[in-house]
Every structure is written in C-alpha cells, then in structure tokens.
Symmetry: C2
Subunit: 262 residues, 2 copies
C-alpha cells in the first residue's frame, strides 16, 4: 500500500470512523526497551506538533483490545513476537480535553478538517499495555502524520501528550509486579550469560539493590537457570561462570495457568 492510499484510508476512517471503531475507547502501549542496565520507552511525535505520545489508536469493532494494541505496536516496531500485557485503564473524564487537543491542532497535524463535535474530540477511555523487549532489536517506524518515532531514556522523557506520563509511571510499576510472577530475560540477554548480567536486568527493572546470592539461589532452585561448565574470560582473575535458561522450564512457567512466584 503506498502513502497516498494509506492517507485515503485514514481520512475515510476519520470521517466515517464509527462504522469501524468503538466509540470512546483507545489503546496505548508502553514499549519498554532494556539494554545493558538501561530502560528506554518508545515514543512518537506527530508532525507539526511538539509533544510526544505513546503508540496508540482506536479499536476496530471486529477485534479485541489486545488485538488492537498488538496491531498498532507491530506496525511501529516491526516485531512480530512482542508480548503485550494489559495493565490498567485510564479514564479521567477530562483526559482528552485537558490535553488541549483541538480540531485546529488535528488539522495542522493531518491536513484533515473536522468539527469540534466530531467523535474524536469526545473523551476516550484508554486501555494501556506494556511490553518488555531488547531495544536494539526494534526498528522504530514512522507512519503518515508522524514526524519521529524513537527510544527515550526512562529517566529523561520529553513533554508528553494527554496522561501519557502517568501511563508510563504505572507501566513501570506493573512491570515490577510482573517480573515476580513471570520469567523474563530469554529475549533480553545473550544465550549464555553471567549471573551479574541477569542480576543487573532485575535490579534495573526493580530499580533497587537485590542480594545476588539469594536471587541466584531462588532462580536455580526453581530450575529456571542452569550453571554451565564454561567460564567467560573478562580479565585477570575474573572469569565468571556462564549460565543458560532452562528453556523447557522457562516456557512451562510462562504458560502456567497457576500464579507462580519468582
């Protein structure tokens, strides 16, 4: 599909949107990227506009909200295996109004003129998702109406649209709870990793110090990681043992119906 066709479809969707979309519902996704002790978040900026926002959009009446979030994020990241987790609904009655999102601004961004009683300026209840990924794997992709789409350091975010700053804050909290009940790391670390590497991943997400001995003991006792008979040589007198995830056990815990505790 070329740019012009895409624009035509988008215009049709805006003008006659309620044929396709649920009214008053949107999805927003916080894509959290990890790489060597850093967390980043994927943000986008519309053309002719100075604020940044999360990748998000409307929900087709023929899909679930999870499908919608996946569809939109997949389009931005080109990743097919990103696992999105619903974590909270944001529904302040003034969240759209407070953002100062007017037909003038909309027209500046898209070139499409609509009245201020259009459904797009009604309030939206936003269903929010997060995903965790190795950020070097993602190729952020723009689209019609977007000027930029890129990673921002979690500790140094730009000015954000709507209540997106709050959505990001809550996503980080939900992620902290998530990692106590789901194995992580398989897509985030090299196939063979050292304990300090795994430990750093958890410390970065939890944003606090963890006792490395207890931490390791727990993951080994769950049979989640296996010590290899192999060391990495990183300098004189420093050759930490390498570990691997026990993938069978890892997948079993991911698919476990019961609540697990890590």
């Amino acid at each position: 599909m070329d740019e012009l066709e895409l624009r035509k479809i988008m215009e049709d969707q805006v003008m006659d949107g309620l044929k396709y979309f649920y009214r008053n519902i949107s999805v927003d996704s916080v894509i959290i990227g990890y790489h060597e002790k850093e967390l980043k978040v994927l943000l986008q900026r519309p053309q002719n506009f100075q604020k940044w926002g999360l990748p998000g959009g409307y929900v087709f009446k023929t899909e679930t909200v999870d499908d919608a979030a996946f569809r939109i994020v997949q389009y931005r990241t080109q990743l097919d295996n990103l696992f999105l987790h619903q974590f909270k609904v944001f529904s302040n009655p003034d969240r759209v109004k407070d953002a100062g999102f007017t037909p003038e601004i909309y027209s500046k961004i898209t070139g499409i003129k609509i009245d201020d009683d259009h459904w797009m300026f009604d309030n939206f209840v936003s269903i929010a998702f997060f995903a965790l990924t190795e950020f070097s794997l993602v190729q952020p992709t723009g689209s019609a109406y977007l000027e930029e789409c890129c990673w921002w350091d979690i500790n140094n975010l730009p000015e954000l649209l709507f209540d997106h700053a709050d959505i990001i804050k809550e996503a980080l909290k939900a992620l902290k709870i998530f990692i106590h009940h789901h194995p992580i790391g398989y897509e985030l670390l090299p196939e063979k990793f050292t304990l300090p590497e795994l430990h750093s991943l958890y410390e970065t997400i939890l944003n606090k110090k963890l006792d490395i001995r207890n931490f390791t003991k727990k993951l080994v006792s769950m049979d989640l990681i296996t010590k290899l008979d192999e060391q990495r040589n990183i300098g004189a007198h420093r050759s930490p043992y390498l570990y691997m995830f026990n993938k069978e056990r890892y997948d079993q815990l991911i698919n476990e119906e019961e609540v697990i505790v890590i």
Copy 2:
C-alpha cells in the same frame, strides 16, 4: 426516591442513554467474600431470566471507570469502604451477541421495548474489577429489574451470563497476585487472631498449602503482625497465641508507592 421514580429515570437513561453514558464501555465487579476458609462471589439474577451475572453497568461520561464500578457495587452491597481493583478488560467482539441478549429478553426483564439496533445491543468492552470483603458484612441489595442478589460458593457457581465465568476465573488469579503485593486480612479476621486463622485465609485464596513457619516468619519480619502476650483457650493443651496487625505498618504498606513483596 421511590421505585416508580427510579424506573422512570432508568427508562430515560435507556432511551436517551448516550447523552449520559459512554458507548461500548461497561464495568463488571467480582466481589469476593471470605469467611472461615470459604470464598464466595456476589451474583445477581434479573427478573424473568434464568442466568446470573456480576454486578455491573454503564459508565457516565462525567466519572472514571473506577467511580462507576464503585457506584454500582456500593448500591448492591451498601458497603462504603469496599476497595475495588481494576484487573483486566474483556473485549471479545462477540461477547454480547454470544450471550443471546436480545430485545425480546430485555423487554421480558424490564418491560421496556427497544429495537435491535439500539446501542445496548452493540458490543461492550467490559472493564473488570475485584474486591475482597468479609462476606457476613455485606447486605446484598436488589434493585429494579433484579429478582435475586446473593452470595454463591466459588466452587459451585450457577449458569452465568456473557463471559462472566471467565471474568470470575481471572479475578481469582488476579487476587492471588494481589496478595503477594498488598497486605490483606485487617477487615477479614477478628482484631486478635491466631496464626492458623491468618494462615487459612492465605491458603484459601491461594488455593494451595503454605508452610506455616516460613509464612509466619515473613509476616513477622515485615513487622506486619505482632505476637501478643495473650493466648486463646480452645481446649485441653490447645491455647495458641494471639496476634494483631500492626496497623500503622499495614497502612504504610497499603499506601506504599513502591512495589512491595509479601
């Protein structure tokens, strides 16, 4: 407000509902009642209808989804201090259609005739909440159009409307995660309780055996419970020590911004 006035308001809301309510959004609440090793859930049955459902309804455009859930549940339980937790959004595109909820059935229940292209027969994305309460504290209350509203044993549920069986299953899973990160028990146990009483509460919710020694050690080390210099006499050679929640610490953990692990 008398019954007739209430019915008049409800009819107006149905006929002219989109003035008041968001379209395509509903809330449903799973009120979980605990009492002496049993879990129950609060269900309601419309008049002239055989299936049961969760207390739920539409969201006014002037409130948050959390406000809506609280308003509806408060009306059913008469409890003012029930703390509801958003846990998941249910959005199968056929969830209303699959339930066979037709204008004929609606008219049988309410006496109100509406067309099948009415917004009420459009699909609804349901935002689900759970709350945990001591079930003997709740006075289930009916309302216009409801035949019954009462507690059902979690292991012996009646036939349920829509995807409510799935919503209940997911609520129990969310509750299991919740109790690892939030203190519970203050409203569910007597002021002074024995360790087996507290232990049973956790075992009932988690639906699995817990080592009582480790469990106790953890709660004491968190300063969440305090051993009293007082025993309960429950028979020859059986006089377990009594414990109390350290309320200050309990409230501190409830209001903690950081993620805690219990």
